[in-house]
């Protein structure tokens, strides 16, 4: 039993990884892309946050998953899939060509989950995640899933060569 509701900006943000300005920016610009899941006892189970961007003319208009997070005790319930489905539907409505996301190459659990949800690796972005405490920067997969507007599924044809973060839009 889960309540999915719009993110209201109060102390929902208590346990998170980003700074307040980051959340405010998304809420001010793409409030519809911010959804939280709440348990019957009021516990925050997880949330998704995203945006719409890209040029329509170049068929690059798409939904982007900025953050998806599920609290440890609410994992393996299919919550992430549900939240992703909602983000995809919003992107469909906005006439996006695809949905994309970045994920750490090492995060095999997440990569597999996204594959199950119909995403495929579009390209590798070199050293996308800057590491702290002296460890090396980590590569990201740019994963995509075509939406119905991209009838020929052109947007997801993989790019074989890795790209650098400064070369992506």
């Amino acid at each position: 039993m889960t309540t999915l509701r719009a993110f209201t900006f109060n102390f929902d943000i208590c346990y998170n990884n980003y700074g307040i300005p980051f959340y405010l920016q998304y809420l001010a610009h793409w409030p519809e892309y911010f959804i939280v899941a709440e348990a019957p006892g009021g516990e925050l189970m997880g949330y998704i946050m995203g945006k719409a961007e890209g040029s329509v003319a170049r068929e690059e208009w798409h939904g982007h998953v900025t953050a998806l997070s599920v609290a440890p005790e609410f994992r393996r319930l299919g919550l992430a899939a549900k939240l992703m489905e909602m983000l995809e539907e919003i992107s469909e409505r906005k006439g996006g060509f695809f949905v994309d996301l970045f994920v750490r190459v090492s995060n095999q659990v997440a990569v597999n989950m996204y594959k199950q949800l119909g995403y495929s690796v579009y390209r590798t972005v070199i050293e996308y995640y800057s590491a702290s405490n002296g460890e090396p920067d980590e590569d990201a997969y740019d994963m995509r899933k075509a939406l119905s507007r991209d009838t020929e599924r052109k947007s997801i044809i993989p790019i074989p060569h890795p790209v650098r973060p400064e070369d992506i839009e």
Partner: protein
């Protein structure tokens, strides 16, 4: 400041290097370059502003400000100057000056869309809603674009929200906003979804639910497309407000089967029961992953039916069986405990043991080994077993065990913990161990034993087990939080610093859990750490103000109108935070205690802080308690849980303590200013007025303090006990019982009497002088009593047991703080008495050797007083030194651990490490306290005549 378009303008080219220097943080060069440019081009105003930015950033605020004002008074209309001034004012935290700037600019260039828009945003930053409304309209008249019109409408809504008088909102602002939107609707000018959303907001706030519903269901509602189910959710909200249950029901049914939403609203109980039963049956038949919803809905429905006294619940089944069924299906999920916990009250107490046993049957454990325990074969079985353990604790079954039973439970849980570690061998450092929760539960049982029996060994072992847990699972925040709490209760703050920083608390957490740190840092005498932890919190609060304003503006730009009140409410909530007020106050008090009359005089310190005794910036009536008081996991049964009453009492207690502290701070500020005004002894009229105004502030604050201390006494009489994992008690009770509050109050009261003596003079004041001397003596008695309450061993070994008395440390801190206050009063006394004495000597000389006049009582009394003060400080220093010596001499290695407590060698090692940390921390506190006392003792020397 980076992007600036057209390069053609020669001024742009000239200014470029200054921008670059500023961008690179090379402020000095920026200033030089600006000076150079200004020599050639005197009227290049922007260069002046850029120089001011450089000055501001190098700490020359005053210079920067006057330079900026030179340009501002010219009312510039060039983009460069305006933008640079905007940046400067923002850095100066003077956003209100930006409004003045653009007010002038739009007057001069009335057709500029850009300047009008900047003016609107400038008003938005300072929350001037009325002016925003006008600016939005002016903008729309200049450039008739829809968003501008609706900015103005939204500003009306904000006026309604912020109106003190709800009637004004309902009869003026909102109707006006409604009419403005209706006008656009009639003219068929509505374009964007945001406009429809705003219309809905207005209708809803006006209570016009029928109209709102019609609007959402009508053609305008078709624009509501971005958010999922935006129209449906809005309809649902209105149906509920209008109590249109059939419609509500139909829509929820539709939505529920499509999506998960909050429980449906049904017209009859029978229907509801049937609906839920049907869903469960459907779910049972499904092959795919079962959903928890239908089964929980069933329990929820029973709960609600019971609340209403409906008999139909039997048709849903027996809660015990339903919960067992739920556990059977979802027992291996970590959320099972969270799900079932809220419905346990459906079971009668006599069923609890039966429930636990039946649950146990559903847990597949291996064969019972030598130690008498069977263990789970995989993580799913482990999760099930863990869930049963947690449920048993929530049901209170662990609490009812006797000491022996609890110790056995500990052994069992520990065995499971250690066994379960094998499943997590491949876990990353950032992941939790599957069996971590066992370890945490062990700690909780130890805490039960400690609080029930007072046996400190239980506490030491608890620390050991948590330290061990942390070594296997270094990211477990619950371990860290509990360790942090226990160390604090033990009065050992040093280990807490690392624990807290490894929690990596961010942003809002500085408000929600910062209290764990700030409650103890100062009170345990770790002044450096205290100062650091106040800074963490303060930095967050200060940046919040600025950050939020920027995004309020963004929300206007993108038409996210619904978010604007949310952002503002959030900002307000932080600004009115109890914790914010506490750290603000404590930070300043700490600075005074550790610096005033050491590195600079009290007066200088007070001035540097900008402290004004008349000002009270704490929102006493709207204080928000943002503390997360349930941040620590707890499986305590309902009757031991934190209640609303606890929360209320804790806030009350903290508020009163804050009041005591803030009044003390303001009193110290007014004491500092009493010493100020050196010309006052010339007794010219104006100065006398000034002085009497100051002393009347002192008088007012003193009587407020007196009242507050009376309230405080009433509160501490209640002796409220909070759950162990709930809020820590405030310092109020120990402050009162130590006598420090009253001693400080009488010292400050004395300064008032001294002030009187200053105006009366020595000649006709024998009564006053006796009164002062009595106060001197009484203060000594009070200090002596306070010091005697500090005596004792903070840590000692008795019969191979380690015993702590952390309250001694806390009292010692109160003593040191009180000594500081008394010494400031003493130095004020000296400043009053010294000139009186010297004028007396002058008189004596005149009277030529009529030396029979004795020294006035007050002067001899003062000398005696400073002598006694010196004596007390020396005694205190001796005590501190003695404690340091005995702590250092304490050889913890000599303790035999683990005997009779089934602690392994490894566990003993962790316990010992925890003991070491406590010992070191105590030493650290004593050193800091000793240092401060010694420094303050130096200031005593200067008081002798």
């Amino acid at each position: 400041m980076a992007a600036r378009g057209h390069v053609q303008d020669p001024n742009d080219r000239r200014l470029r290097p200054i921008y670059d220097y500023l961008d690179n943080g090379n402020n000095k060069m920026a200033i030089q370059q600006a000076d150079k440019l200004l020599k050639k081009h005197k009227d290049l105003h922007c260069a002046k502003v850029l120089k001011a930015i450089g000055l501001q950033r190098t700490g020359k605020q005053d210079e920067a400000f006057s330079l900026a004002q030179e340009v501002a008074t010219l009312e510039p209309t060039d983009d460069n100057s305006l933008q640079a001034l905007t940046i400067l004012y923002r850095e100066m935290h003077r956003p209100e000056l930006v409004t003045k700037l653009y007010e002038a600019a739009v007057k001069k260039v009335p057709l500029s869309e850009e300047y009008h828009s900047h003016l609107f945003m400038a008003y938005a930053r300072v929350g001037e809603y009325k002016k925003m409304q006008q600016a939005g309209m002016a903008l729309y008249k200049t450039v008739p674009k829809n968003p501008y019109y609706f900015w103005s409408v939204m500003s009306l809504v904000m006026q309604a929200i912020s109106a003190q008088d709800e009637k004004l909102a309902q009869t003026m602002f909102l109707p006006l906003a409604e009419r403005m939107v209706e006008k656009m609707v009639k003219e068929e000018k509505i374009e964007a979804e945001a406009e429809v959303q705003l219309y809905f907001m207005i209708l809803e706030r006006l209570g016009k639910y029928v109209e709102a519903l019609d609007m959402v269901r009508g053609p305008l509602g078709e624009k509501l497309t971005s958010e999922l189910q935006s129209r449906e959710n809005k309809c649902m909200m209105m149906y509920q407000r209008l109590q249109l249950w059939p419609e509500c029901n139909a829509l929820s049914y539709k939505l529920l089967l499509k999506n998960c939403v909050e429980g449906p609203v049904h017209t009859t109980v029978a229907e509801a029961v049937k609906f839920v039963v049907d869903r469960m049956e459907e779910e049972d038949k499904k092959d795919s992953r079962p959903l928890r919803g239908p089964y929980m809905a069933c329990l929820e429905l029973i709960h609600r039916l019971r609340q209403r006294g409906c008999p139909d619940e039997e048709e849903l089944g027996d809660p015990l069986e339903l919960m067992l069924q739920f556990f059977g299906k979802f027992g291996d999920k970590p959320c099972c405990i969270t799900d079932l916990k809220i419905y346990l009250h459906l079971l009668p107490p006599e069923q609890h043991t039966q429930f636990e046993n039946r649950l146990g049957e559903l847990v597949p454990l291996g064969e019972v080994g030598e130690d008498g325990f069977g263990f789970p074969g995989d993580t799913k079985a482990l999760q099930r077993h863990l869930c049963v353990c947690q449920l048993s604790r929530v049901l209170g079954l662990q609490h009812t065990l006797d000491t022996e039973g609890k110790l056995c439970l500990i052994t069992e849980l520990k065995a499971h913990y250690h066994y379960g570690l094998q499943f997590g061998k491949s876990c990353l450092k950032t992941e939790l161990q599957f069996s971590d929760t066992y370890c945490l539960m062990v700690a909780h049982v130890y805490i039960d034993l400690w609080t029930e029996t007072g046996d400190e060994n239980m506490l030491w072992q608890c620390l050991g087990v948590l330290e061990e847990g942390l070594s296997y699972s270094p990211s477990n925040a619950q371990f860290k939080l509990l360790l942090l709490l226990l160390f604090c209760r033990l009065g050992a703050f040093q280990p807490v610093v690392d624990l807290y920083s490894s929690l990596d608390a961010k942003h809002v957490q500085h408000d929600t859990i910062g209290y764990l740190l700030t409650r103890y840092a100062g009170s345990l005498g770790q002044f450096a750490a205290a100062s650091q932890s106040y800074n963490f919190s303060l930095r967050f609060f200060h940046s919040n103000q600025k950050d939020t304003s920027e995004y309020i503006i963004q929300a206007y730009k993108y038409g996210a109108f619904e978010k604007i009140p949310e952002f503002i409410a959030f900002r307000t909530r932080l600004n009115q935070s109890l914790h914010f007020a506490q750290v603000r106050t404590e930070r300043m008090l700490l600075d005074l205690y550790t610096e005033a009359d050491i590195t600079s005089s009290l007066e200088e310190s007070v001035k540097a802080m900008g402290l004004c005794p008349e000002e009270d910036d704490i929102p006493w009536d709207n204080m928000r308690d943002n503390r997360d008081l349930t941040v620590l996991f707890s499986w305590d049964p309902k009757d031991r849980e934190l209640t609303e009453e606890h929360r209320r009492l804790s806030l009350e207690e903290e508020s009163v303590w804050l009041k005591v502290r803030s009044l003390t701070l303001r009193l110290l500020a007014s004491l500092a200013l009493l010493g100020h005004a050196p010309s006052k002894r010339n007794s010219d009229k104006t100065n006398e007025n000034g002085v009497s105004a100051k002393s009347s502030t002192l008088q007012t604050l003193l009587s407020q303090l007196d009242l507050t201390l009376q309230t405080a006494a009433q509160i501490t009489e209640k002796q409220t006990q909070y759950p162990f994992l709930g809020p820590p008690s405030s310092r109020l009770a120990s402050a009162l019982s130590s006598g420090s509050c009253h001693c400080q109050a009488s010292a400050l009261q004395l300064s008032l009497t001294l002030q009187e003596l200053e105006t009366t003079g020595l000649d006709d004041s024998s009564e006053l002088q006796t009164q002062i001397c009595n106060s001197f003596k009484s203060l000594i008695v009070q200090l002596q009593e306070l010091l005697s309450r500090c005596k004792g061993d903070v840590l000692e070994m008795k019969d191979s047991r380690l015993m702590t008395q952390p309250s001694l440390l806390e009292t010692l801190v109160f003593f040191v703080e009180t000594v500081c206050v008394v010494l400031w009063v003493a130095s004020y006394s000296a400043s009053v008495l010294r000139p009186l004495k010297s004028s007396l000597q002058k008189k004596k000389k005149k009277k030529t050797k009529d030396s029979s006049t004795a020294m006035p009582v007050v002067l001899s009394g003062f000398q005696e007083w400073t002598g006694s003060l010196q004596g007390i400080v020396t005694q205190a220093l001796d005590h501190v030194k003695g404690q340091e010596a005995s702590l250092t001499a304490l050889k913890l290695a000599a303790l035999t651990l683990g005997v009779g407590h089934a602690q392994t060698q490894e566990e003993c090692g962790f316990t010992r490490a925890a003991m070491d940390k406590v010992q070191t921390s105590y030493l650290g506190s004593l050193q800091e306290l000793g240092d401060l006392l010694r420094k303050r003792a130096d200031s005593l020397k200067s008081l002798k005549f």
